[in-house]
């Protein structure tokens, strides 16, 4: 990292360089510390707010207390031994059982105290056990549930986003060369199409390819029952993957290409590019060293933001295509008031976001000599 922070004028004598070097290290260390503390504080506040909302400020506890009382009362009335007891004694018994159950679940403590315990648990990635949702293998551990849903989400989101990113940049470079051509104007004209979200195109695609033509499946990740052979399994997953990925691409590609194309064009009208052209460099050379190089920080930022997006999954796209990923997990957790799962996914997301933001600062400095860390 420290190397990256050296300024462009490295021609100065070695002594000065060494002094500058140690100053740089100090500055980077201080900056790293401040950034870490600030980001951690952000994560803590963000997660605490999520805990408050996900518990409805303690209201979920009331719901759970009600559920416990109902369950205990039903249990007692179904039990022939207890049904014989006089009413007063039975009520006492029910109250006692409810108290024990609430204590077991930690509901006897006030919500504020518990909310801070939730916070420390969440921050230490001690995600606990889900209340209603279980993983496909039957586990109630939030970590296992999230891990299980992670790979489908990564498969879907990574395929779609990497394709989208690669295609956007590639076509943008191509169009910035063919600036003003029919193709170029077509992309500009079509770019408002990106105002609709992916699920929206998903519905159209489902209508066309699944309902009318019947070529591709309506949803899910693999056909049921899953094929035994590896190859068939892969083909089945691929068939299920096509439509959601296509929906994602349609919704993103036009504005993506337009954005990058405009961006590249702005950079290719710089003086040094004109200079390079005058020198007679090949267009490939110009593209690589004079256009892509200075735009690298921006490309990296948007790539990093894209990576953050990967983790969260696309709640609605996954719902429309019945894709068993994190987005749908989060949605069903909210529907079932399953606080640990909600908080668990948010924690994961918050950490990844913070980490990415943190790394970005340094990567910037690595690729862009004009940026100095901590200055």
């Amino acid at each position: 990292m420290a190397e990256a922070t050296q300024t462009a004028d490295t021609t100065s004598p070695t002594k000065i360089m060494a002094a500058g070097y140690s100053r740089t290290v100090g500055r980077v260390a201080k900056y790293t510390l401040i950034r870490t503390v600030a980001l951690l504080a952000t994560v803590v506040v963000g997660i605490y707010l999520t805990i408050l909302v996900a518990n409805m400020g303690g209201h979920v506890d009331e719901i759970r207390r009600g559920q416990i009382r109902e369950r205990v009362a039903i249990g007692v009335s179904m039990n022939p031994d207890m049904r014989q007891l006089p009413t007063a004694e039975r009520t006492k018994m029910i109250n006692e059982m409810v108290r024990v159950e609430e204590q077991r679940l930690g509901l006897d403590q006030p919500f504020i105290i518990r909310s801070f315990r939730f916070l420390t648990d969440a921050l230490t990635l001690n995600l606990g056990r889900a209340q209603h949702i279980s993983s496909d293998s039957g586990s109630r551990t939030v970590r296992l549930i999230i891990l299980e849903r992670l790979s489908p989400t990564l498969l879907l989101m990574a395929t779609s986003n990497l394709l989208l990113f690669g295609l956007s940049v590639f076509f943008a470079l191509y169009l910035s060369r063919k600036y003003g051509s029919l193709m170029d104007r077509l992309v500009i004209a079509l770019s408002p199409l990106s105002s609709a979200p992916a699920w929206f195109y998903g519905i159209f695609l489902l209508l066309l390819f699944a309902a009318v033509l019947g070529w591709l499946p309506f949803g899910g990740m693999v056909k049921a029952p899953p094929p035994a052979s590896r190859v068939e399994y892969g083909v089945s997953v691929l068939r299920h993957l096509t439509l959601p990925v296509l929906a994602w691409l349609i919704s993103g590609i036009f504005s993506g290409v337009y954005g990058w194309r405009t961006f590249f064009l702005i950079f290719s009208s710089e003086d040094y590019v004109e200079m390079a052209k005058a020198k007679g460099l090949s267009s490939r050379e110009i593209e690589r060293s004079y256009i892509l190089r200075p735009t690298l920080p921006n490309i990296i930022t948007s790539f990093a933001l894209l990576l953050i997006g990967l983790w969260q999954g696309a709640i609605i796209l996954e719902t429309v295509f019945n894709w068993p990923g994190l987005g749908r997990l989060l949605y069903s957790a909210i529907q079932l008031y399953d606080t640990p799962v909600i908080v668990g996914s948010t924690v994961l997301y918050a950490y990844l976001l913070a980490l990415t933001v943190f790394l970005l600062d340094f990567i910037y400095a690595l690729v862009d000599p004009r940026v100095r860390v901590g200055s």
């Binding site: 209201h59 929206f200 489902l206 309902a211 709640i315 909210i334 913070a354």
Partner: protein, 451 residues
């Protein structure tokens, strides 16, 4: 300000912006027309209504304009009500008793479609003291066959569903009387016999002053301009009411979020120091909070929070410290150093005067395009929430139509109109705003103008 207006006039050179503005104007007019013809409370009553409101509509019928493209013309709903004089009524005194009467209601209608109706129902209503009158129904086809339908006593209000009369289905040797009654007996595959049909409702009354009215409904395969859903509701109500809701939600949310974000960014930049620092930190926290899941939580956990206006408030509240602050802040930082701001400070302008009159106007060229382009985002956000089952519980919206259609498996069952109509409307509105916003961006941001 004048230069802003002058550059806005360049919009004439952008055909896509003109198309967008035309569409938006048309949509606004449609929205105004909807609010004028179907008031808010009426829309809710209609959309929540059951058989009492929609009893005369077929279930899951496609739009009537399908017939323009179909070679085999499908029937639309036929409603004949004796109250409206659609039946010839004859009353004869019975030979057996002086009180008793024989009332005959004769419904005559032409049937010229190539498809069969969806369902056949006769609704009867009788006014009597103690003994209910007795009805027997007869069916006469164009080729002069007479088929006996059901026989039953008519209590105050009686609904006779032909498909549920097991004696009739046995007599017709078909589970679908609506097919058997209209079918040509000589044809190999069921084809309807075109011509004039008659339904005779013969009622024998036992008391003087007994009166009987009947309504004959042959439910069509197609209905109205937009078709109907699984609860017989006319989709036109939802499509029309979706317009003001989508427009107002999109515009209010875009306006609310852009204005608050801009104001906060201006305040932060102007005062600087700890105010700016706090705003920056809150923005960072806000970026970690996932917006859509929080909206889902608001919708799920707080049932009264389902109303579209509460969601609107939550959307605005969550984006007050949205990512746009960073963009606005960067511009404000430049503007703040401009000499005219310094001049304003020198003559003693107050903070609020500088912020509202000198800082904010300078950002309008950036703000206006982002505001207009922001509208589709929120129009689709409403639809997205509805798709997750978090739509407004009482109001019909486009998103809710898509959600209903998906939940009822409309795509599997081939009821494409149910999904396509709201989706196309969403698309049209979204595209219109996006096209205008896009052109505005190119006009007002000089860096993009030549590109």
């Amino acid at each position: 300000m004048k230069s802003l207006l002058r550059s806005l006039q360049q919009i004439r050179k952008y055909p896509s912006a003109i198309i967008g503005i035309v569409i938006i104007t048309a949509m606004v007019l449609l929205a105004l027309y909807t609010i004028a013809t179907i008031p808010y409370s009426e829309a809710i009553r209609l959309w929540r209504g059951g058989e009492d409101v929609w009893g005369e509509n077929p279930r899951l019928a496609g739009p009537a304009w399908y017939n323009l493209f179909l070679r085999q013309k499908q029937p639309t709903t036929l409603v004949l009500n004796s109250r409206d004089g659609a039946a010839t009524k004859t009353v004869a005194t019975s030979p057996t008793s002086s009180d008793a009467q024989d009332i005959t209601l004769l419904f005559t209608f032409d049937y010229a479609y190539d498809g069969f109706p969806q369902e056949l129902i006769v609704f009867l209503e009788a006014e009597y003291e103690q003994r209910p009158p007795h009805a027997s129904l007869f069916w006469r086809t164009p080729d002069d066959r007479e088929i006996r339908l059901g026989e039953f006593p008519v209590r105050r209000s009686e609904t006779y569903r032909l498909a549920l009369d097991s004696r009739l289905t046995r007599r017709l040797r078909s589970d679908r009387p609506e097919v058997a009654l209209f079918a040509d007996p000589d044809a190999d595959s069921p084809t309807p016999l075109k011509g004039t049909y008659e339904l005779e409702v013969h009622v024998h009354t036992f008391e003087a002053d007994t009166d009987v009215e009947a309504k004959w409904v042959a439910y069509g395969q197609l209905h109205g301009l937009a078709g109907t859903d699984h609860r017989r509701r006319d989709l036109m109500v939802a499509l029309m009411w979706g317009t003001p809701i989508a427009l107002s939600f999109g515009l209010l949310a875009a306006l609310g979020t852009t204005l608050t974000t801009m104001f906060i960014a201006a305040v932060g930049v102007w005062f600087g120091g700890w105010v700016d620092a706090i705003i920056q930190r809150i923005t960072e926290v806000n970026m970690i909070l996932p917006i859509l899941p929080i909206l889902i939580m608001v919708g799920t956990f707080y049932p009264q929070g389902r109303s579209i206006w509460v969601i609107l408030g939550a959307v605005i509240a969550l984006s007050i410290f949205g990512g746009a602050i960073k963009t606005f802040r960067a511009i404000f930082l430049q503007v703040k150093e401009a000499p005219y701001i310094e001049a304003a400070r020198a003559y003693g302008a107050s903070n609020s005067r500088i912020i509202t009159l000198y800082l904010i106007p300078r950002i309008l060229p950036v703000m206006i395009p982002s505001l207009v382009s922001g509208v589709p985002v929120y129009v689709f956000l409403e639809a997205s929430l509805a798709l997750l089952g978090l739509g407004d519980p009482v109001l019909p919206t486009w998103g809710k139509l898509i959600d209903n259609a998906r939940a009822q498996g409309a795509l599997h069952n081939g009821q494409y109109y149910w999904v396509l109509q709201p989706a196309v409307l969403l698309m049209v509105v979204g595209l219109a705003f996006a096209m205008v916003g896009f052109s505005l961006d190119r006009i007002l941001n000089p860096r993009l103008r030549g590109l």
